[in-house]
Subunit: 265 residues, 2 copies
């Protein structure tokens, strides 16, 4: 059967995959995996191969983006093939072109979803999902951009929260941290002076969501800059208007200062 | 150990849970479940109990919202307790109060994430996650509200897509459909006349995401009103400005008309 199934690995390690995803992998003729679009900090390929009973071919960015996933498409034209991807497969847009090309070649495509960093970070924070505006990624300093600042500004004007993902280059083991992300936003603030993010602006940092020891801290930027969140991956939330239940959640789950209650109606 | 673990069931059926979530359930002293905040159309409690080897106590809305989850908190004060929840546990805000109360009682809380309808619908559509604005839920007609229309309008002005979840009352087996959702938006349009949604507006309907036979159709509203999406759960996307890759994805995955190419730069 000519078939390509995109399977989400979920978060953190080899146990983030769904039961359905593992069954699809066991039943596949060929299994491929990429773990460069997102970091699964405790993932073990050896353990995953043990669980699935399948030899997994690990793919590089080059295999998928420069050679357009040729090795995957060729396998999918011969039989049932799975491509294992961190999180929920199409939250990063990287693989959409591959899915289009497969369909063009007459290969049926399906998706087995996994837990995504997007819903996980929002859920862990206790903030309300429907109060988030557009999501943005903060790039590395060498690609300094005003876009994240502008997105936060636009969302705040509507009272909405902003989820800021932080860029990563897994092949170079480089992961943008909460501190660096905040410093970049402050640098843009010094230039634009729109008072979008200042040292006394309230923000939420989240690290290693989906692991056994996620780190979550809500405080003013000045304090977050000094907070030790531990290792990657990390993300940042810039809240808009807070509902009192959101304040209680941040105090209870994220160690926010009690005085936060006084700033919320 | 006094502990309450919120475990995401993911999508569609008992195989949507992660391997980690199943392990947590097996290791628990008490297991509770609610499946009213979202519909898992092919879920079998019997199969889940077989997989987990645990007797699961099914909870009603009344148990969790009127009695504030007392039965869950009492169990968590005696030993390791899991509460199984559809999707990713805190995408619906229903259980945030329970988590706060548990922490107040000195019960440690953790989350095992699952696939959420939010990232799954966006991923299945082929649209780009970072181009979505605020998410909204379209209520039942008896609760007719202008909010969804206004959110779509606001997002569109910024070129952003809107994910519209459709309301459900699982205890009454009532599920708002794509057609009814569109009809409500058109009713608001007739009143407000801001040209946010018309019969020739382009939209995307999605049904049963995460199942073996999800239904996805992109077309003008007039056509979607007549399209048979099959059973629930269903959702709706009102796109803002489309990138050419998004157009190709909608043509390839969602049967969008080829002429959609001509409307996009």
């Amino acid at each position: 059967m000519k078939e390509l199934v995109f399977v989400g690995l979920g978060l953190n390690d080899e146990n983030g995959i769904s039961l359905r995803g593992l069954e699809e992998t066991k039943a596949a003729d060929s299994a491929f995996m990429e773990i460069y679009t997102s970091l699964l900090p405790e993932f073990s390929l050896k353990n995953f191969e043990g669980l699935s009973g399948k030899k997994v071919h690990m793919l590089s960015r080059r295999d998928l983006e420069e050679e357009n996933g040729k090795v995957v498409l060729d396998a999918a034209e011969k039989g049932k093939t799975v491509l294992l991807v961190p999180g929920d497969p199409f939250v990063a847009t990287t693989h959409v072109a591959l899915r289009i090309e497969a369909e063009k070649r007459g290969v049926r495509t399906r998706i087995v979803h996994g837990a995504s960093v997007i819903s996980a970070v929002i859920g862990l924070s206790g903030l309300h999902n429907y109060k988030f505006g557009k999501t943005v990624t903060i790039p590395f300093p060498e690609n300094l951009s005003e876009t994240p600042y502008n997105v936060i500004s636009q969302n705040k004007k509507m009272g909405l929260h902003t989820l800021c993902l932080l860029d990563l280059k897994t092949d170079e083991q480089r992961f943008l941290g909460i501190r660096e992300g905040l410093e970049q936003l402050l640098a843009v603030e010094r230039k634009k002076r729109e008072k979008v993010i200042m040292l006394d602006t309230f923000a939420v940092g989240v690290a290693r969501v989906g692991s056994a020891n996620p780190s979550l801290k809500a405080d003013i930027v000045e304090k977050l800059l000094k907070h030790d969140f531990g290792g990657p991956p990390q993300s940042l939330i810039l809240p808009g208007e807070l509902h009192f239940m959101e304040v209680e959640a941040l105090i209870s789950f994220a160690g926010a200062p009690e005085k936060l209650r006084s700033v919320v109606r």
